[in-house]
């Protein structure tokens, strides 16, 4: 019997590793391809600026790559480390892989948007290339935060000792913790990238607007980040709450439902808030005197868009604490 559990843990770790880097590679692949596409277009418009565009493309792609590198690190650890042989550890390892895989998807795609738009902007307004590159770095770095949340949760799932907890329902709590942060990170990552892409377009069009655009970009990205923070909150509650052993599957199902509710529920509001930020920032540069009005309208629209992520969090909290 001991041997069988050991095989189960190894199998779960390998499965988690495959899921982590398999899903994690999607985001960076899409994001970097988008950047390269815009770089090609930029070079065809202004071949004499090919060096600047290429340099910016590579910096942007390196940032988009970081989410996939987090996934690679988690996958390597899952493959190479030795873990305790018990069934709840097996579930935690599979959950760690799923969390990191989904968590790297959005930030990889998102970081491609500012990088691509910055390449386009450099060929349009070569004089702005340094402020475009700087703002791109800030915007892309913010995109990566949700991947970092996923990595933190994945590491907590891998290295904390859960062996003293009863399998039912604590295994479901750990799996739900992975789903919550991982899925919610998809929306925030893509949304923050859209907002940062809008800021790049505005700086390229109106170089004097760089300060205002950076400030509005950070405000918009902060709102788009909220679903990822809600997801992290639900994950932390699920990781640290120890449930007494149960006979029935009701609590386990409720906890899984909580993770799915918050995880899936965070995707839409994250992308939507980011889209609102993209258009608002895009128009900031065309008409600078209405910058305050645009930022205000963006915030109102984003707040409405966030309402569904709050519903999802409420349902998750009810499923955790009331049921």
């Amino acid at each position: 019997m001991a041997l069988e559990v050991q095989i189960l843990v190894k199998g779960a770790a390998y499965l988690g590793a495959g899921v982590a880097i398999g899903l994690g590679a999607i985001g960076a692949g899409v994001g970097e391809g988008y950047t390269a596409g815009f770089a090609n277009r930029a070079i065809s418009m202004k071949p004499e600026k090919a060096g600047d565009v290429l340099k910016n493309m590579l910096i942007g792609q390196a940032l988009a790559e970081s989410a996939a590198i987090f996934a690679l690190v988690i996958a390597m650890l899952l493959v190479l480390m030795e873990f305790q042989a018990n069934a709840i550890t097996a579930v935690a390892l599979a959950a760690a892989g799923i969390c990191m895989g989904f968590g790297a998807l959005g930030p990889g795609i998102g970081a491609g948007f500012p990088a691509g738009r910055a390449c386009e902007g450099i060929s349009r307004q070569p004089a702005t290339s340094s402020s475009l590159s700087n703002t791109m770095l800030v915007g892309s770095a913010v995109c990566q935060t949700s991947a970092i949340y996923s990595m933190v949760v994945a590491l907590m799932l891998m290295f904390f000792d859960y062996s003293t907890r009863a399998f039912n329902p604590n295994a479901a709590a750990l799996f739900a913790a992975g789903l919550s942060t991982g899925l919610a990170a998809i929306g925030s990552g893509i949304g923050e990238g859209l907002t940062a892409g809008g800021a790049m377009q505005t700086i390229a069009r109106q170089p004097t607007s760089v300060g205002r655009a950076t400030a509005s970009m950070l405000i918009g990205q902060a709102v788009a980040e909220t679903p990822a923070i809600f997801g992290l909150l639900i994950s932390m509650i699920l990781l640290f709450r120890v449930y007494p052993g149960a006979e029935s599957v009701i609590t386990a199902a409720a906890l899984l439902g909580a993770g799915l509710s918050m995880g899936l529920g965070g995707i839409g509001p994250g992308i939507g808030s980011g889209a609102a930020g993209e258009y608002a920032l895009n128009w900031l540069g065309r008409n600078e005197e209405i910058g305050g009005l645009l930022t205000r309208t963006m915030l109102v629209g984003q707040a409405v868009s966030q309402s569904t992520s709050i519903y999802a969090m409420v349902i998750a909290l009810v499923l955790i604490f009331v049921v």
Partner: protein, 82 residues
């Protein structure tokens, strides 16, 4: 451990509540954000109509929100009534 039919129904309805609210939140979230983005674009083109545009944006978002509220209602029914 033996699991009774009533337990399974209760467990599946709780899982279903999570799935309902999770998937149900995706559409309104993206849709309302898109509406907000287009409203910002329209205000950029014609700032004098900002009040009218904000009002129209909010009405459109309220309609888009309805499916999110349906998901919330169904989730609450699955948790507290079923």
């Amino acid at each position: 451990m033996d699991i009774s039919g009533a337990d399974i129904i209760r467990a599946v309805s709780l899982l279903g509540a999570g799935v309902a609210m999770g998937f149900g939140a995706i559409g309104p979230g993206i849709g309302e954000g898109y509406a907000a983005g287009r409203a910002c674009e329209a205000i950029g083109r014609n700032p004098r109509e900002a009040g009218l545009l904000t009002r129209t944006m909010l009405v459109g978002q309220a309609v888009s929100e309805s499916t999110g509220i349906y998901a919330l209602v169904v989730a609450l029914l699955l948790i507290f009534v079923v």
